[in-house]
């Protein structure tokens, strides 16, 4: 017999209670891990999208708010009010490259997808795209579509097939290699076709600007503002404001998870207190056999710790599974559309962290019951019937 074996035997003697207490911790830790994992991938995806945009400055419609900045990074539909004249004026400023985008939405098989009107050659160059199948737009006005890798796979589309946008069948020209970002889930059209389909008369959603001299980025922002009456944000400002929104969402989610963990912790306290009362006489017998208080304390604390350890492992598995299963569904929402099923991955540091955290919470929960058990006087414990 070892203390560990004794603890295990004690835990499993009331199987129902053991399982239900454990489930409480698994659910609490599971929701915590799921929210952390979703939140974590959200943040890294945003940083990746910001980098993928390849812009130092973004020109947006005047008075656009943080939500619209989120939309630029997520590929949501945006108000389309920047005119061709304004685009031309921006593009005429020397020392920088300005690329307009028209961000729209469509649906394939009733699932929403992003549609992006682009200047094919310049966008390809700035984004460093490669093709995995078919061909790219041969001209700036070709009436065809180039698809993101994940989207093509999801809807089984390949060069030669057609995709319905706004009721019109558009031939698929090619499929991009996977980028790991929202471009993977986007239908790209040449700007004239996109503007025609979405009935936009030469207007675009935003303009991404890359300056030649990064240290003069503020100067260029001023230059743009001199030429056109539009909003200009730097990529850093945009990233900052988007991350702050996501941060708020994350904190809220984690607070909800914290409540679940707190409830589970009290479940442990409850179970261990019940065990203390139920096993009062046994504690007395152990004391009579010569078990010092420290042994009784350790016995009960270890039981709590095992709840936490098993609950942490179960919760981590459940949480990651939930985040992988849930990600594609919640990715249809603007603020969370960074979360892609294909991006969900298991972070071993977080897994170990979750298990350790759960064990720690369980041990803290077990402190009071263990202390109560160890403080029983042998006579009181033995006389209990």
């Amino acid at each position: 017999m070892t203390l560990g074996k004794l603890v295990f035997k004690n835990l499993t003697r009331r199987r129902g209670r053991f399982v239900f207490t454990l489930l409480g911790i698994i659910i609490g830790m599971g929701s915590f891990v799921a929210f952390m994992s979703l939140g974590g991938s959200l943040k890294s995806q945003i940083e990746r999208e910001s980098a993928a945009l390849g812009a130092n400055l973004v020109v947006t419609p005047k008075g656009s708010c943080a939500y619209e900045q989120v939309a630029i990074l997520t590929g949501e539909q945006l108000p389309t009010t920047i005119t061709a004249e304004e685009v031309a004026a921006i593009r005429s400023i020397p020392g920088m490259r300005a690329i307009p985008y028209l961000a729209e939405r469509s649906a394939i098989e009733n699932r929403p997808v992003s549609v992006m009107g682009i200047l094919p050659a310049e966008t390809k160059e700035i984004k460093g795209w490669k093709l995995s199948a078919g061909s790219y737009f041969p001209t700036e006005t070709t009436e065809g579509a180039v698809l993101g890798a994940v989207l093509a796979e999801q809807f089984a589309l390949a060069p030669g097939s057609e995709v319905r946008i706004r009721g019109e069948m558009i031939p698929v020209l090619g499929v991009l290699s996977e980028t790991g970002g929202k471009d993977d889930l986007t239908v790209f059209l040449a700007m004239p076709l996109a503007q025609r389909l979405y009935k936009q008369k030469n207007t675009v959603s935003y303009v991404a600007v890359r300056v030649d001299r990064i240290d003069e980025v503020d100067l260029y922002a001023l230059k743009i503002k001199e030429k056109v009456s539009l909003g200009v944000v730097s990529d850093k400002q945009m990233l900052g404001s988007v991350l702050s929104i996501v941060g708020t969402v994350n904190v809220t989610l984690q607070l909800i998870a914290a409540v679940a963990i707190l409830a589970a912790a009290f479940g442990i306290v409850n179970t261990m207190m019940t065990a203390t009362y139920e096993r009062k006489r046994e504690i007395g017998i152990l004391q009579a056999m010569g078990a010092p208080r420290s042994t009784i304390f350790r016995l009960f604390l270890l039981e709590s710790a095992i709840y936490g350890l098993l609950g942490g492992i179960g919760g981590a598995v459940l949480g990651f599974a939930a985040s992988i299963v849930a990600a594609p569904y919640i990715s249809q929402n603007a603020a969370t559309s960074f979360v892609k099923g294909s991006q969900a991955s298991i972070d071993p540091v977080m897994l170990i962290g979750a298990v350790l955290f759960s064990t720690l919470v369980a041990m803290v929960s077990g402190l009071y019951p263990a202390w109560k058990a160890s403080k029983l006087s042998p006579v009181e414990a033995i006389s209990y019937e």
Binding site: E282, I285, L286, Q287, G290, P378
Partner: protein, 225 residues
């Protein structure tokens, strides 16, 4: 009675205070000879169990002293007292004596673990002890699968785990039928012959009649034999 394994001097124990003050023991002077078969007998509520708890180091006196195998228990810390119980005294109680979730052998192994015996040596020693009480074939039975007498014999085997010089028992046959009582008494007498000091608290005069040394407790005091 110079070689006393347990000795009490003016031992008192009080519970409560003021109007609720109960004086369970009122100045008990007692010497239990090493190797004796001692019965502590008396009516219920007269202080037998309190006396047993004190001489077994399960509780501390309100006044006077208890000396177990030469050691004053009042000078011991909680930890020291636990160590003393582990090494000097083997307890057997009337009810619910065994840990219900463990087998007979595991119950004994637990006592061995508490005494610091390495795991590898626990099983052979447990089987040896079960053999001693005639229950080697019940090693893997849980308490629920054993009769009352068998459970009590396992408890005796467990009390012997650490080879203590004293076996201290509170009504060990109080819950048994005559046949089971005879089984248990036979085991105890055998152990006494092998040199163990057996102290038995009972209110059965039949059992008391078999004891070599009789201590009568009444109203918290020792009655003259």
């Amino acid at each position: 009675m110079s070689d006393a394994i347990i000795k009490t001097v003016q031992l008192t124990k009080e519970y409560g205070r003021g109007a609720t003050l109960t004086r369970a023991l009122r100045g008990v002077d007692l010497e239990i000879p090493r190797g004796s078969f001692t019965c502590i007998i008396g009516p219920s509520g007269h202080g037998k169990s309190t006396l047993m708890h004190l001489i077994g180091g399960l509780d501390r006196p309100s006044g006077g002293s208890v000396i177990i195998d030469g050691q004053q228990i009042s000078s011991l810390s909680e930890k020291g007292l636990a160590a003393l119980r582990a090494s000097k005294i083997g307890f057997v109680f009337q009810f619910f004596n065994l840990l219900q979730s463990l087998t007979a052998a595991e119950n004994i192994e637990t006592a061995l673990m508490l005494a610091g015996v390495p795991e590898a040596k626990q099983k052979p020693r447990a089987l040896e002890l079960l053999e001693l009480v005639g229950l080697s074939e019940k090693a893997d039975s849980k308490p629920g699968q054993l009769s009352g007498g068998q459970q009590q014999r396992v408890a005796i085997a467990r009390a012997l785990a650490n080879d203590p010089p004293v076996l201290l028992m509170d009504e060990p046959t109080g819950n048994l039928d005559s046949a089971a009582e005879a089984e248990v008494m036979a085991v105890l007498e055998e152990l006494n012959k092998k040199g163990k000091t057996v102290i038995l608290v009972t209110h059965s005069s039949e059992i008391a009649a078999r004891a070599g040394n009789l201590v009568r407790v009444r109203d918290g005091q020792i009655e003259a034999a």
